[in-house]
């Protein structure tokens, strides 16, 4: 296999000076050299996402910028066990991969992680909770918030199906579509600002594929369209209550 380069960017907020090289060079090298050269399976890991006290420059979620670039892959784990499997897959993948790690989970997540070598497949979404009334799609640390919302909705008799996308680019449209065909409603949640966030891509694709099956508009519960605030973080974030409100609104549409 040869040697693989793994780069770390200390905070995803600081990845922008490298954005030029990632987007213009790493993503396009194989393409523009006609497969004579490639960037050697580069993996870039960066902690992303809110952490409670990060402020403007330690909490951003830039996954949407990278999802717009053909030629790279974007992968986001939701837990330690997933992180190990996905990271090993990313490293061994011959394409350039940007691996965002939710920094909220660094100190909070506790899980049993197998010590042997194992890889989790990229571009496969996972249904982590079965349900029949509404499909929830998310990734990273947001899933734990969505899970809490699902539990609360359960008490109101709403059965929620929760999907972890795992890989954002290229994302698993089939799994999400199959789930939406089952439930007829979908809600997407992410920390990044709502306008132009990756939820928009999911929403558009689902509408294209499942328009007649949908019983309610696709709901997006995301961060607000402002720079990530310092003191107002609780208001900015897509919290459990916001998701719960949206679930109820969608189900009762």
């Amino acid at each position: 296999m040869g040697n693989r380069a793994i780069a770390e960017i200390q905070f995803a907020d600081y990845i922008y000076p490298a954005f030029d090289q990632i987007v213009n060079e790493a993503a396009k090298f194989r393409y523009r050299s006609g497969n004579q050269f490639n960037c050697g399976g580069l993996t870039i890991r960066a902690p992303y996402g809110a952490v409670g006290h990060g402020g403007h420059y330690h909490s951003q979620s830039p996954e949407a910028f990278f999802c717009h670039v053909p030629g790279i892959k974007v992968v986001i784990p939701r837990s330690p066990r997933q992180a190990k499997g996905l990271l090993l897959s990313c490293i061994r993948d011959p394409n350039p991969v940007v691996f965002f790690e939710p920094k909220w989970l660094y100190r909070l997540a506790v899980e049993e992680v197998p010590e042997h070598d194992y890889m989790l497949p990229l571009s496969e979404a996972e249904v982590i909770r079965q349900g029949s009334d509404i499909t929830l799609v998310g990734w990273g640390a947001q899933l734990s918030v969505m899970e809490q919302a699902c539990n609360e909705a359960e008490k109101d008799g709403i059965s929620c199906e929760l999907i972890d996308l795992k890989t954002l680019l290229p994302w698993d449209k089939e799994t999400v579509e199959a789930s939406v065909r089952k439930t007829g409603r979908v809600l997407i949640s992410h920390e990044a600002p709502v306008t132009g966030g990756f939820g928009a891509e999911i929403s558009a694709s689902i509408v294209e594929r499942c328009f007649l099956r949908l019983e309610a508009p696709v709901a997006r519960v995301c961060g607000l369209d402002t720079p990530f605030p310092l003191v107002f973080e609780p208001f900015y974030m897509p919290t459990k209550n916001k998701i719960l409100d949206a679930i109820k609104a969608t189900v009762n549409y």
């Binding site: 990060g54 402020g55 369209d225 402002t226 003191v231 208001f235 998701i243 409100d245 949206a246």
Partner: protein, 495 residues
């Protein structure tokens, strides 16, 4: 290095002798005294970093002339050098007497640079403090500052130190959160530079910006409130620790990103020059100071801005606060040539290295650099060798640095050094200084109380100032401002 120091001298000498009849040493009164003082004190006490000006090769040296002109006997008495321990300098800069003598010679105003053989690039030093001073300096005591100035410097440094210590206390009590980076140990640079500025001059800083804001004149209350995230803070609580702005005092921000502030500072300097030359506001001579660290000097934006500033002769001073550590990366391990001041002449501006633990030395160099900028002679790169006593941020346990290194620099605490200087030269008494300490403690306590009692920003502030419309996303279909719509908590802000 010694050879090239001498190169410049012959070019300057002819001009100088034509204009200034007085014997050489007295031309260099105040600024030189501090530089020369450590040569003339005991040999063991050579400080780690006399100002060294990056040389520029032109023609042949004349060592003999210099030796006679600079004989020690011409100085009757020298004030005590502030920092006398200098053995373990991590940056081993050769400090033998002769090249040093050569370099001081360069503190001569290039009054008519056309006569000189120095071509386009003025990579060597230039400005000197006023020739006028030489007439006063025949007294036996050549002090660098007056009593008022000394007390002002002392007060500013103590304010910086006390404020930062209080920040640490507040952080550990949970009143302040987020990432806080303290400036302990580097106060001499902030005080030495910023106290020479006018209100309209601008300061651009890094994430270690509380003390820069305080030195520039932002009140301790405003800074403390900002740290607590309250609405009375200097940015209304929006930014927190790393984002100190003040339109009134022209503080153009702390920047969380390293190197991001330098282009902004270059732009501010460009504005000043543009106003003067294109918009013809003849009295606009605002200077901009850009502060940044040693890690930033390996960043592309730094070099791009050095190029532009030198190209257009912008009124800016690039101040490198070299505290040898970029979070946890040692400067010596990360940089091909650790002597940052040498990067100035590569772009055509003077590069100066100064001991950043000594506020008087910093002040002298600052006077010249700022004076240069004000006169329109272009930028200067000043490297200040300093140290941060605490870790990178309050979340940093600071385990990576060698305790011996920390102890070495702790012994050169700028506040203690200035205190010693003031007392030994009878500029101030212990009582005066204690009174200042007490006053500053009260100011900082009061700032904390004020910040505690201030209100938290209202929820509507969240959507404000995203665009130019201060009320956020304008007026919604129901006739109200959208940011005041209670439904905005549902998670989508429709524009």
């Amino acid at each position: 290095m010694s050879l090239s120091h001498h190169h410049l001298n012959t070019n300057i000498l002819p001009t100088l002798s034509a204009t200034i009849p007085t014997p050489f040493p007295l031309v260099f009164s105040a600024p030189i005294v501090s530089f020369l003082s450590f040569i003339f004190s005991s040999p063991l006490s050579l400080p780690s970093s006399p100002p060294i000006f990056s040389p520029f090769p032109s023609s042949l040296p004349t060592r003999k002339k210099m030796a006679t002109a600079f004989s020690p006997s011409k100085f009757a008495a020298q004030p005590f050098p502030l920092n006398t321990t200098s053995q373990n300098n991590p940056l081993t800069i050769p400090t033998t007497a002769s090249p040093f003598l050569g370099s001081t010679r360069k503190l001569i105003r290039l009054s008519s640079s056309s006569n000189l053989n120095i071509r386009r690039r003025s990579g060597t030093v230039v400005a000197v403090s006023d020739v006028v001073k030489e007439n006063k300096s025949k007294s036996t005591l050549n002090l660098l500052i007056t009593k008022e100035e000394g007390l002002e410097l002392y007060e500013d440094m103590v304010l910086g130190r006390a404020f930062e210590d209080m920040c640490a206390q507040m952080y550990y009590r949970g009143k302040m959160f987020g990432f806080v980076h303290l400036y302990n140990g580097q106060e001499a640079i902030s005080t030495g530079f910023i106290k020479l500025l006018k209100q309209q001059d601008s300061v651009v800083s890094t994430y270690r910006d509380h003390v820069h804001a305080l030195s520039k004149g932002v009140s301790a209350r405003a800074v403390m409130s900002e740290l607590f995230g309250k609405t009375t803070g200097c940015c209304r609580g929006q930014g927190g620790s790393m984002h100190m702005f003040s339109r009134e005092h022209n503080v153009l921000g702390g920047f969380a990103f390293i190197g991001e502030g330098i282009p902004v500072a270059t732009g501010a300097a460009f504005t000043s020059k543009y106003k003067r030359e294109v918009l013809k506001e003849a009295d606009c001579d605002h200077v901009t100071l850009a502060f940044f660290g040693d890690g930033t000097c390996n960043n592309g934006q730094f070099f791009e801005c050095l190029n532009m500033a030198a190209l257009w002769k912008l009124p800016i001073v690039f101040v490198v606060e070299n505290n040898l550590w970029a979070i946890g990366m040692s400067h010596l391990r990360a940089t091909s040539d650790p002597q940052i001041y040498k990067k100035g002449p590569a772009f055509g501006m003077p590069g100066v290295h100064v001991d950043g633990m000594d506020v008087l030395k910093v002040r002298e160099v600052a006077k010249e650099a700022i004076g240069r900028a004000r006169r329109g002679e272009g930028p200067t790169l000043v490297e200040c060798e300093t140290y941060r006593f605490r870790g990178h941020s309050l979340a940093d346990p600071d385990e990576l640095r060698d305790p011996a290194e920390k102890a070495h620099y702790a012994a050169r605490d700028p506040i203690t050094a200035l205190k010693k200087y003031l007392i030994e030269n009878s500029l101030a008494s212990e009582a005066d200084l204690k009174a200042i300490d007490k006053k500053i403690d009260e100011v900082v306590e009061e700032a904390v109380e004020f910040a505690d009692e201030s209100p938290v920003p209202p929820q509507s502030q969240l959507l404000e100032n995203v665009f130019a419309d201060p009320k956020g996303f304008g007026i919604g279909p129901d006739g109200q401002y959208r940011c005041e719509d209670p439904k905005f908590t549902e998670g989508t802000a429709q524009v």
